[in-house]
Subunit: 402 residues, 4 copies
């Protein structure tokens, strides 16, 4: 009887693993670690269901990759069994370099590296352990494989990563409006001159997909309460870092977290991958719980706030925060908290968040017409996705104690 494992997924029903190599990668501690990293960081403070994990997302994206590949094969695309397996492995591992709280803490723990860089390091390490069986997956992941569409399925405007996270995040948050027709979009994909394009009759599904993404950005990923909570998390780690640098030993915790905060690993990541993969959300939570009682007033204030969900006030707007307003709120924060002006900077601050609906100059979603013409999705008749929307949308926020 052939090898087969079945995993229940509330989103897609069942996910099938039918290759031992893929099952072995799934079983590796690097991958199992993703069970302990929430996909949406602190979004669960607003959407209590959003506690799903990076592991679950990776499995989901793997499932969609399987559907996409057999769809394209049905339409005559040339994909060898080895390439199919490699593309599945690449998507399974595309986010393996994420650290605790995913994007929220990127660049705080490891300053100089993107999570994609760490993903690649981990893939190379796994390749060694699996005797070179991940070579092709790495080529596809890094865009060096000649069949460009395979890379586009992993990282591109219409990759299965986005399709899964939009579908999954809207499922677990309960924001039903974020639902996309992933199954229909997959059926509309085809390969044209080596690149991934969309059949003409998929135009409306694609527009809908972009609009759903826009909605999820403002309603979930950049929801002002989520934003505030995640910025507070950043401030907590920055404060802890500073205290460490000042020689504060109380800030140290069991486990590797403080070593990262102390910056011991910047630049030498490659040798410390096992240490990195021992980190997960739980380390940060336990540290915050400890720091709730730390003598530094700022650190303990922020930690109690996040743990008990007593978050900073937030103002979110389309125009930059008026410096006068910041000054005023800062002064008020000092008065209320009794912090020094420098300390108050950790609980009263501004920032900006950016989202771009679609940029036809950088990325492309191309529609293949029945008569063979190709057009960008922003150039079709009566396009919903227009020039104006391609400009990045910035929103500016002010957090403060009020």
């Amino acid at each position: 009887m052939p090898f087969r494992k079945i995993i229940n997924d509330p989103v897609y029903g069942f996910i099938t693993i039918d290759e031992p190599l893929i099952f072995n990668i799934l079983s590796h501690p690097y991958f199992q670690r993703l069970r302990r990293i929430k996909q949406m960081a602190l979004a669960h403070l607003v959407y209590p269901g959003a506690v799903h994990t990076r592991l679950h997302h990776a499995l989901g994206a793997y499932h969609l990759m399987g559907l996409a590949l057999s769809e394209l094969q049905n339409k005559g695309a040339d994909i060898t069994p080895e390439e199919a397996t490699a593309a599945k492995i690449a998507i399974l591992l595309h986010d393996i370099g994420h650290g605790p709280f995913s994007h929220a803490l990127e660049h705080v723990l490891i300053e100089d590296l993107h999570h994609e860089d760490i993903s690649l390091m981990l893939m190379k390490k796994l390749d060694q352990q699996f005797n070179g069986q991940l070579k092709l997956a790495i080529e596809i992941f890094t865009g060096q494989h000649p069949k460009k569409f395979l890379h586009q399925l992993i990282s591109g405007q219409l990759d299965v990563d986005r399709m899964d996270y939009l579908t999954r995040d809207s499922f677990f948050t309960g924001v039903s409006e974020g639902v996309i027709g992933y199954d229909r979009i997959l059926k509309m994909l085809t390969v044209h001159q080596g690149e991934l394009v969309v059949e003409e009759k998929g135009i409306y599904s694609i527009e809908k997909f972009l609009v759903a993404r826009r909605l999820m950005y403002w309603q979930a990923y950049l929801h002002k309460t989520v934003l505030a909570a995640e910025m507070m998390l950043v401030k907590i780690l920055e404060r802890a870092k500073r205290l460490l640098q000042q020689g504060d030993v109380d800030v140290r915790t069991d486990g590797p977290l403080t070593r990262f905060l102390a910056g011991e690993f910047s630049g030498a990541m490659d040798e410390n991958l096992d240490l990195f993969t021992s980190l997960d959300d739980a380390d940060v939570i336990v540290a915050m719980k400890k720091w709730c009682h730390h003598p530094d007033k700022v650190l303990s204030f922020l930690c109690r706030s996040v743990m008990n969900r007593e978050l900073l006030k937030v103002q979110l707007q389309a125009t930059p925060i008026d410096p006068g307003l910041l000054t005023e709120k800062h002064r008020e924060t000092v008065r209320i908290t009794g912090f020094t002006p420098e300390e108050a900077g950790f609980v009263c601050f501004t920032g900006e968040s950016v989202n771009r609906l679609y940029d036809p100059h950088v990325e492309h979603i191309r529609i293949l017409y029945k008569d063979g013409r190709l057009r960008d999705i922003s150039q079709v008749d009566n396009a919903l996705i227009h020039e104006n929307l391609s400009a990045p949308v910035k929103k500016f926020y002010l957090c403060y104690v009020g």
Copy 2:
């Protein structure tokens, strides 16, 4: 124990009827007739699940009206119990004037009247039978009631009619992309200066709603196969009318259908309401089945085509059909079918379908900001719904035998 009936609805779970008057209206033959009229006419030829009825839609819209009213009441809107009941009755009956195959045959059976006109006639007749208990409902339906927002809930950009039909039609077709966040939109509605407006944080849901509507238009309501089938239905009745006028008796059927085709009632509808309400989809189906064997070649050809789903070819495009192309297809049709040129006009023809995403000059969706400002949905920051989209979108089609 208070009066209460519960109806299972796969879309909303349970629909509750808790007023005897409303139950009695539901039980009236005028309303029960809606069981026999499909909401989406011939869309089931493409989407086999889309066989839900006008009765089901009316119940759904009634359910949403109940939710909307209690939402607004929670927010302090002044709505008396009598007004609430009246608004529910008005939405329950808003489509009661639809004839067989809903929109598809509007103006074919009854030339001079919109279905809304007939709805009003039927509401007045019911008002008599229910001893004037529908007075307030009629006022709201016709927009004469001073609380304008009640009428807007029945007929306006954000009425519960649209919310139900988009939700229901996407449910039964299986076009999951048409799903709107009706529950969230309802929670975002509020009354401002007597009119229905949307709270600021509902902007993205509204944009999503408009995009879902656009998608459903092109993917379902104006799907080219559906369009062809429904135009063929129109041609069938036009052909039958002409034959009747020419004195053909074979075209007559049991029941009232041929009386309508013979135009006996135009202008005197009011007195023939009971006859009108005896018509439903089944009459047209039985007539078509009979006409499959009618000696008129055109009539029998069209009837067999629709009954057996052997539809005309369709070309759908953004620009008007080139007259040369029509001439060519017409000639070909004559050749293939052996019809005379005049006859061929019934199976080779052009037409246009129009959809407008949102017209800020005519209708309004107004956003109420926290600071009290009002802005049109097309004027908010980074609006998705822009000027260009407000122009009506026309598509042009050519049907032919190919």
Copy 3:
């Protein structure tokens, strides 16, 4: 590019047709007719969403057959491509012999034949038209094919027919409790000694399936209001038959319905298949609408009752109806309606409905343990499905005017 048609199904997402032969069978007027026959007859009088058609069910069962076959193939079952196609065709056509209102009118229009008999006649006729390409499908359908499990997938305790109708009927009625884990059950099926069996870990899913079926019987199929409505339909046709026999010409309608009521075809069905396939729900509806005005008081009373959903009262109980009670209700009915005692028998009558949860003596669901043992589902440890439940459950009803 290979042949492929995709059909949206709200229940399963997408149904794929990838063989021209199957598409051609789907396109045949015999099959298209199933669009006009409701799967659940008059159940929509209680569950307004239950207007889905026999065509939709046939497509759904076809889809599940595809899943079941590839599941079994994955587990090593020997199924040739020809057998797979044949099994799909057989399930697609298994109900093609249903007449108007499905089971509700079986044996009323055609007295001596089961719908399965007519299905077989139609399959043979199609086999002729398709040049013998349905031979294997017919062998499987009739149980003559040596691979018994293929027939069991079409007609047996765990056939895909039941799996689809339970799933589909619970979807469209909104009775969420009828939901079965069809995807899990399919994954638990395997072939053992040529027969369909269930893997050990599927025990609870199977128990759940049987309980869901029990629930759907009492809550939907044999719901007392549905029962009453469908019995009234039977009485209408019986009354019309009698009037026809008495020479009443007013009872005649356009179309073939009255020819069936006149019994012209009994015993000669085979030659009249085309006439049979011209019948559908619409004929019965139009006839009932006509008969609402028929001079026979009984016929018009019953027709108005069904059309306007003013149904008879029903008493449903576990013990036979007391003859004294029937006499009393009959007398009362005579008094209220003014009918003669003979006439009153059409609106005051008793009957019984039977459902059997599971009969281990007749049919079998066998569980295959890991150690190779086989046990009946009623014999597993702590079986939910026990001896007592295998006895047929009768319920007795009394309909009357009250």
Copy 4:
């Protein structure tokens, strides 16, 4: 405008909080802590979606309580606004005494107390902080309130706790067969002589509910892999306890976990509630990660196994494990691991799990017939739930290194 907060829930859509007192309880750190305790402990090792939290379950049960109360009020049950609020608070807090990994670690960290005892202690403490506003809630929770049905809604055969956890757990695991018709069951509840009973027409829904519970027990809660993982977790803490008792300091961790393992609090829980509420899943995870490197071979072996999901083998059966088999597996485990026989006892052990479908002698689900009779669900006609099923079902397991 009245107070109102809305929370998105993927299971029920929206959950509304419309009383400031309830919102304040939700916002209390005791309640917020439940965000960090998974509802299903280690079930996510089998069902990756099952990472939902105790907080989410408490909110869901609160939502169902609201529906149940207004349902009963509609049917005329006498429930004052104060009682309604109190019942909602009681259900919100019913599980607040759960520690890390919910049931899996109950009695390991705190030996002498049930989680319900701790819930009560925490409710009393909150009552002090909220100036006695929880008095009535505590009375209902402890069953001292005269309206017995209110307590039955919190703790009884048909309480909203079970309804939510079955619904929620089946949603997040994706075990669609565990779905119950909670909305229908709620509509069938009524109060009779002060107790909660079910209307006659709810019989099949209740049977279905009990069967769904049975299925969820065997398929999820007591799934053999979940069982193994959770028993390993217990063994880890038992091993750590023993090492602590032996004076091993390496086993100590940051935070309060080791103080509980050292047994410092048994018997004095009441005074240490704040310490207890500082514990959550993260403490156990961080401890396990640390212990992966602990010199004790048994502790590190078990921790690595759980963290990397390399679980013990499990045999699950209906009869007690044969002592000879245990001896054999123990010997093999010693051989494979190199552990001493005593050490091997931590990775090779037996145990039993018990589930009872329904015990009519202890708890009751009573059906109220239209004629006023009351019958136990196991005594209705053709009962599915029979005597045999009321006996507790034991399953016996053997875990070992294989």
